[in-house]
Each structure stands twice: as structure tokens, then as C-alpha cells.
Amino acid sequence: MSNEATLHNQDLAHHGHVEHGHGNGHDGHDHHHETFISKYVFSMDHKMIAKQFLITGIIWAIIGAFFSVLFRLQLGYPDATFPWLESILGHWAEGGRITAEAYYALVTMHGTILVFFVLTAGLSGTFSNLLIPLQVGARDMASPFMNMLSYWFFFLASVVMMSSLFVQTGPASGGWTSYPPLSALGDASIGSKIGMDLWLVSMAIFVVSSLLGSLNYISTILNMRTKGMSMTKMPLTIWAFFFTAVLGVLSFPVLLSGFVLLLFDRHGGTSFYLSELFVQGKVLPNEGGSAILYQHLFWFLGHPEVYIIILPAMGMVSEILAVSSRKPIFGYLAMVGSIFAITLLAFLVWAHHMFVTGLNPFLGAFFVLLTLLIAVPSAIKVFNWITTIWRGNIRFTPASLFSIGFVSTFISGGLTGIWLGNSAIDIHLHDTYFVIAHFHIVMGVSAFFGMFAGIYHWFPKMYGRFMNQTLGFIHFWITLVGAYLIFWPMHYEGMAGMPRRYFDYSNWASFNMFGGLNQFISFVVIIVFATQLLFVFNFFYSIFKGRKLTTPNPWDATTLEWTTPINPGHGNWPGEIPEVHRWAYDYSKDGKDFIPQTVPVSPDESQH
């Protein structure tokens, strides 16, 4: 009860819960007075908020991925016309061919949606919310109200971003990074008009949402752990969510200040980023601004952002690999240490995105060194994942397959990072398809694999049912093979110098040889996209019709979330919160398959 005592004010509301305790954990409608609105809409239960984040994220993922299908059609079949495109995009696809403006808008929104709305809010928002209170043994977040606000700010940001898709001049189209001057001057392109304003407003609201969430995650992990749950007894998921939140809290505000200055450049007539410029033959009054300044502010977030995306996936993969190979995680403290090292280095490498901006080569050398240093903790993690499954008694579930797939894509995508981190090689590879291949594999595909693994693994906790395994296996194999078929060839295109962000390569003789390859990639994209719809079907079908759980601990895992009832109510545990006696990874110990964290250490037990 100690945490309730700390929060005595707000917890009065849950109190009925704690004392009555409903046997199988179904929410007690009779003494809790939950309405539809308070249970499903403005819910303060972290588990419901997690589901809200997840489902909003899924909707965004479908939209963002569909956009990639649309622009891949243009890249793969530049001469073909698709009349159905005109019926959904209107004058943006006159005659069934996407216009250049629409292409840039689609590319920009694909990046924005996937990076922020799906892999930040949808991933960390879902699983930090779901797992932090459940795995540290808390009834809810430190501030359930702020947690609710976090979701609703995200929802508001989503509404604003969505509305920008429907304005007459179209959404922002200057790339997901929104570099000025393109993003600062309304006359620079049609995507720089109202669409850009809506983009900035939406992102500012998104930053607020992310901060409210991260504050809560940190505060909950540090203050609300149950008795016995010392920091070193926490599952690696929690460590990962913790450092993710730290990264968010310290880097998102800097992005916000960059956006504030950009808004003033757009509407206040200031010259933070704008230097002497001509637009449509007119001289602008601005002078002396520095567009590079924006890049510094942007990438100070932008680089930690990729770790905000990948760390939660890493944490969940560590947990799932240990559970499914029935072995303790290899090198727990090394795992924690490497997450910490990655967090620290994340703040010191941003300028490796700017090697070709005229950055002082002397300064660049430091950023090369620090960037390459990230290979060390990353390699430690990869080594530990492989040694965790080494000689394990692996149970192949969709979750464990996606976790293993994560390790595979993280290695193949991570290795190309070493190339790009070298400023000399980067001069050739910068802004080519090599970069696209690198970050899509290491950050996009890997993070998605972590997210899928998490969804398959914790779906039973969320909905009390299993997802269909067969569909899960089909989903995994097509996605894994498809992801490699899509992104592997892009390395070759990039090494040949094919630049990214171009609408049409057909007039460019040197890249004509990639015509067939581009067609192939686009073809695979369509198949992989259809497979993701299969996953979405599986997800929603299983919520209502999936096989029901018969035991509260379906995966024989040690962590606390499986000690709650199958359908936990608000407050998670019907009685007292269990006490923790051991770390989360006692698998195959002393002849026992697994020992839950709640079991006291017996005197004749071997040390781990």
C-alpha cells in the first residue's frame, strides 16, 4: 500500500477497488460507476491508454504505409497510369499519374507519420503505458491524469496532422526534417503554405504529448516500484522505457525551440534561418539568417529520436528472447550499461547528419569518432541476444520469431551505419538510396519487428485472448523476406549514386539500369503492405474472436504482469501488490523451468 499512501489524494478513487477486490478482476460496475466515457474514452487506466495509443498508431501506420505504396507506384512504374489514383487523390493525380507535388507530400507525410506518430507514440506510448506499471508493480502511473492528457494531446496532434492532408494546397512537402528555407517561406512551394503551418502546430502538440508521457514514465519507474523491486531487479523492458523517456524529455524541448524560431521566421518576419534570398524574382527583406542553425536544433532531437524509436524495441526483444528460449538473459548488467551508453552517445552525434553542410572537417572528426563508438554498445547487445538464444530451448511463437528477426535486421542495418558514420564515405553516400536502405532496415523494419513482437507477446495481457498463430507466422515470413527484398537492393542503387527524394529518374541515363529493380521493389512493397493488412485483420479479429486465455501466465514468464488476473481491472492486482524477491530472468534454474519474481529466494538456491 505504500505507493497509495504517497498518492493518497488521487487514489481515493481507486480505493473501492483495492478493498473489494473482484476475484477474476472484471471491473466492478456496481461500485465503481464507470461509464462508457470514463472507461473507453477519457480513461485514466494505463492499460486502456496503452490500447488507445496502439489503435491510433495502427490507423496511422496503415495510412503511412499506404502512402509509401503510392509513391513506390510512381518510382516503380513511372510511365504507367493508374486511373484509380485520380479517384482517390483528385487533381493530385491527374490522369492517373501522381504529380510531383503530391509525390513530395506523400514522401514527407510517410516519414513524419512513421517516425513520430507510429514508432514514437504508437510504440513507446503503447508499451511504456502498458508495461511500466504492470512490470514494476504499481497500480497505475504516477499521474494517471497527465497520462490521459498525454494521449489526448497525441489525439489532437493527429487530428491537426490529418486535417493537413485535406487542405487545398496539400500537406507539408519539404521532407520530414522540414529544413528551411523551403519550410520557412510560404511562396517556396505549395506544400510550404498552410500545410506546413499545420505540420508545425501538430508537431508542437505532439512534443507536449510526448513530454507528458515521458515525465510519467520516469516518475513511475523511479518512485512507484513495488517492495523488493530494486532497480537491478527490473526487467530490461523497463530499463529501455526509462532511457527512452529520458531521451525524450531532454531532446524534444530542443526541437520545440527550433520550431518556435521557424514559426517566427514564417510569420513574424524574423531572420533566424533566412539569409539573403530571392523567391520568384523578388528579393526577400531577410538577411543574415543561418539555415544550418535549424539543422543543428533539428538533429539534436533527430538523432536521439532514432534511439527513442529503437530502445523500446530492444527492451521488448530482450525480454521476449529470454522468455522464449527459456534461458536467463545473457549479461543483464552489460545490457543495462549499453542502453545507458547509447543514451549518452545519442546526444553527442547529431552532426553526423550534417557532414556535407560545410561542417568544419576537424569538428566532423569528433562526430565520426563518437558515432563509431555507438557500435560498441550495439555490438554488446547483439552479442548478448545471440548468446541468450544460444542452446536455448526455443519456443517458436510469432513473438519470438519477430524478436529473432529484429536481431537480424538490426545487424544488417547497423553495419551500414558504420559506413555512413565515416565522414569521408558519407560524402559519396549522403542523400542516396544507401541512406534510405540503412535507416529503413535499422530503424524502420527493426522497430516494427520489435513492435510486432511486443504486440503478439502482450496481446493476451491486453485482451485476454491470443492472436492467431498461423496468421502470425505468415505475417512474419513474408515481412522478413519482403523487407530484405525491398531494402537490400537499395544499397546498390545508393552506391551507384542514385539520389533519394527524386520524383522521376527516367530521364537520367545513368540510372536507367535500375528501372527493373525499382519495379521489383515496388511490387514487393505491395505484397508486404497487403501482409500488414492481414496482421491488422488478425489483431482486430482476435480482440473479439481470438482463443481465450485459460491461465494467467500463458508464456510461463517470470515478470509481474503475469501475476495479475487475466482481465485486470483498474488497479491491476485485486489484493495487495505482490512483493518481488528476485530478478526477472530465473529461467531453467536448479531444474525448474522458471521461477516468478514473486517467489522468495530459498536458502539452497544457486547464485545466478
Binding site: S2, A5, L211, L215, I218, N223, L293, H296
Partner: protein, 187 residues
């Protein structure tokens, strides 16, 4: 039924969240001021004297920190009427601070330093303006506390809300002192 005894060594999660939020706000201003430093190192930096009214506002916000400190003490002594008066005074001083800053802006404008000309002035408008918004956020919080103090149906004697509010208030005060010193040194 529940005792706070076991919690002696434990910081209240809301207070903890406040500290993290302050770290976050600090990072925002670090972003601003480092942008300022980078820009200042480039050519054609125009340097000027800060408007004198900024020193008046400094005194005002320092005074308000004192009044919120006293308010917190009165609250702990259950001296509710003095508490209400003191938080009202603090809120008024907060508004007075914002007014002083805006006067400073018009002073700058009158001296040929509008928002959209010299970038060194633009920075002052944007950074000081963002800081004003943070102070006004604190004023809103104080108003909420003020209304709460008049509630008769539910009385809470938890010191957490006023402690969190005063921590924040001292923080925005300190933030202004930092900005003032920064602008004076890095002109």
C-alpha cells in the same frame, strides 16, 4: 488508515515529475540560448543594451519568489487567510512581471529594434516571450490553488500542490536570472 510514516524518505511522485519537467523546460531554453550563441559567432551580430525595465522586472520576480515562499510557510501553519493573500500577491507580481517585460519590448521597438529587423533583437523577443508564457502558466496554477482554497465541500491539507507550485515558481524565477545574466554577458 494510511500513514505517511513509511514515506519519510520517499519523494512524492508529483514533485519528482515537476523536477523532470523543469529539466525539460531547461533543455528548451538551452536550445534557444545555444542557437543564440551559434548565431552570435557569425558575421554581422548587432549588440545593444537591454531595456532598463528588465531590471525592474527582475526585482518584481525576486519579490514574488519571496511571497510564494511565505505562502508555503503559512499554508503549513494552516494560516489559510494569510496563505490566500500571499498567493494572490504572488500571482499579481507574476502578472506585473509579464507587464514589465512587455514594456521592455515596446522600449526596444521605440529604439529601432523591432521583432523583424536585427536577429539579436528577435532572439530577445522570442526567448523572453517564451519565458513570459512559462511565468503566466505559473500564474494560472496559482489561480487554481486560490480557487481550491475557497472550496468548502472538499478541504485538502496536502502540502504537495503548493510545494510543487512554489518549486516551479522559483524555477521560472531562476530561469529569468539565468537569461538576464546570459543576455548581459553574451551581447
Amino acid at each position: 488508515m494510511m500513514t505517511m510514516n513509511a514515506q519519510k524518505n520517499k519523494i512524492h511522485p508529483h514533485k519528482y515529475s515537476m523536477w523532470i519537467a523543469m529539466a525539460s523546460i531547461t533543455m528548451m531554453f538551452v536550445g534557444f540560448t545555444s542557437a543564440y550563441v551559434v548565431k552570435r559567432a557569425q558575421a554581422n551580430w548587432f549588440s545593444f543594451e537591454l531595456p532598463p525595465v528588465f531590471y525592474v522586472s527582475t526585482v518584481v520576480i525576486l519579490l514574488s519568489s519571496l511571497t510564494i515562499y511565505l505562502a508555503q510557510r503559512q499554508f503549513k501553519a494552516r494560516n489559510m487567510s494569510a496563505y490566500k493573500q500571499l498567493i494572490s500577491v504572488t500571482a499579481l507580481l507574476g502578472i506585473a512581471f509579464a507587464v514589465c517585460q512587455v514594456i521592455g519590448f515596446s522600449d526596444m521597438k521605440a529604439h529601432g529594434l523591432p521583432l523583424n529587423k536585427t536577429v539579436s533583437a528577435s532572439f530577445i523577443y522570442v526567448i523572453v516571450g517564451t519565458h513570459i508564457l512559462h511565468v503566466l502558466g505559473g500564474v494560472v496554477v496559482l489561480m487554481v490553488l486560490f480557487v481550491r482554497a475557497f472550496r468548502t465541500r472538499v478541504r485538502t491539507y496536502s502540502t504537495v500542490p503548493i510545494e510543487v507550485a512554489s518549486t516551479y515558481w522559483h524555477f521560472v524565477d531562476g530561469l529569468w536570472i539565468y537569461l538576464l545574466i546570459f543576455f548581459s554577458l553574451a551581447r
